[in-house]
């Protein structure tokens, strides 16, 4: 039965990803994943495309391997082995979720300069818009800077001159702040397609929820193994089914990784 549940779940995920693909094909411009996902915890503003998500991918693959080993230990009725490998799998799942929490936090709170309605705004990646449109430069930017609020300008200067106090910057006149902004270094873009945020957070969130429930299922399996329930039952089939679910979560990630990060 587990297989038929997984098949239906595959269709759910498939429908989400295909709907995302359909919208993406209907746009003339789409955000470049290497520009969107280029941060690594502790690396500051360095440009490291794909680095963090590859860590997440490997965590999930390795946790899938430990699950295989756990299921195999179950076949042999090796209780200690099952406990050991389940613990590693749970740890992998929690590590993955933590990575995803950091990534979401970074996307939502990390503000980027965009040109909208003739002025510069600082926006993060949210459901209501994304800062990953096409690059703008030249006179459009210099004109827009004149219409931009002191608050925004001060934040933009602060980004590249961390040594300067924000309260001092806020007291400066507008034209002086504009002069301090290094236009070669600040990449100012237009707003990107709104649909990106909804699809990204919706699909990775749905996947993250699957990982979360997988971790819960694995914890339940761990407790049952601990109490010797499967030894009394004579077989470890439940571990087998939890394992199928866990591998499915890994399988879905392979496709989410493809659709959002690689292409």
């Amino acid at each position: 039965m587990m297989w038929y549940f997984l098949m239906s779940d595959a269709f759910t995920f498939g429908a989400f990803l295909i709907s995302y693909g359909s919208i993406r094909f209907s746009q003339n411009f789409w955000a470049d994943p290497n520009v969107v996902f280029n941060a690594l915890p502790g690396a500051g503003h360095k440009n490291l495309p794909l680095a963090f998500v590859s860590v997440m991918t490997f965590i999930l693959i390795i946790s899938s391997v430990t699950m295989v080993l756990g299921v195999h230990a179950g076949h042999k009725g090796d209780r200690k082995g099952v406990i050991k490998w389940l613990l590693w799998t749970i740890l992998g799942g929690i590590a993955f979720l933590s990575c995803q929490a950091w990534e979401w936090h970074h996307l939502i709170t990390g503000e980027h300069a965009v040109l909208a309605d003739g002025k510069i705004e600082l926006i993060g990646q949210t459901m209501g818009g994304n800062p990953w449109g096409r690059l703008v430069d030249g006179t459009a930017v210099t004109d827009a800077l004149k219409n931009t609020s002191v608050q925004t300008l001060a934040s933009m200067v602060h980004e590249h001159h961390a040594d300067m106090n924000m309260t001092d910057l806020l007291k400066m006149p507008q034209d002086k702040l504009i002069g301090m902004i290094d236009l070669a270094e600040t990449h100012i873009r237009e707003k990107g397609p709104i649909a990106f945020g909804g699809y990204f957070f919706g699909i990775t969130g749905f996947h993250g929820f699957h990982v979360f429930s997988g971790v819960i299922i694995n914890i339940v399996m761990l407790i049952m193994t601990w109490k010797g329930v499967f030894d009394r039952r004579g077989h470890y089939l439940m571990i087998e089914k939890a394992g199928l679910y866990w591998h499915f979560v890994d399988l879905v990630w392979v496709f989410v990784f493809l659709c959002f990060y690689l292409i």
């Binding site: 209907s26 693959i61 089939l237």
Partner: protein, 144 residues
Amino acid sequence: MEHQQTPISPEMTFPQQHHSDEEFKRRVRKTTILLSIITVIELGIGLTIYTIHKGPDPSHMLVLMFKGMVCILTLAKAYYIVSVFMHLGDEIRNMIMSVVVPLMLFIWFIAAFLWDGNSYKNLRNSYDKHFEEKKIEQKSGGGH
């Protein structure tokens, strides 16, 4: 291939094989290494696409080709996860078919909806001047 006389549970749908412990470990190790290598190649292609985009004259044909390669590699990964880790490959044939055949629907599903999205874009580019303008601006200015 030796079959066990008493099935452990009625839900056990695959013939019980007596894989030796050694053989099992070898198989898992091989698959893990294979999945890792494929992932590394995918990341390499991802970075190649990034450098092509950054270059002075991005060739769309080349990018599309690399993207196609990543898709094929992903399908290979999916195959290994399903057939080895989830050991669908060891199940009985009817079981495999009852899971895989309905999934064939995806072939139509993907083709139809991507086609639909693309046609919507083309229609808007032909009839909605505002939308078309954006496309021209994008081609002339900046890029990535």
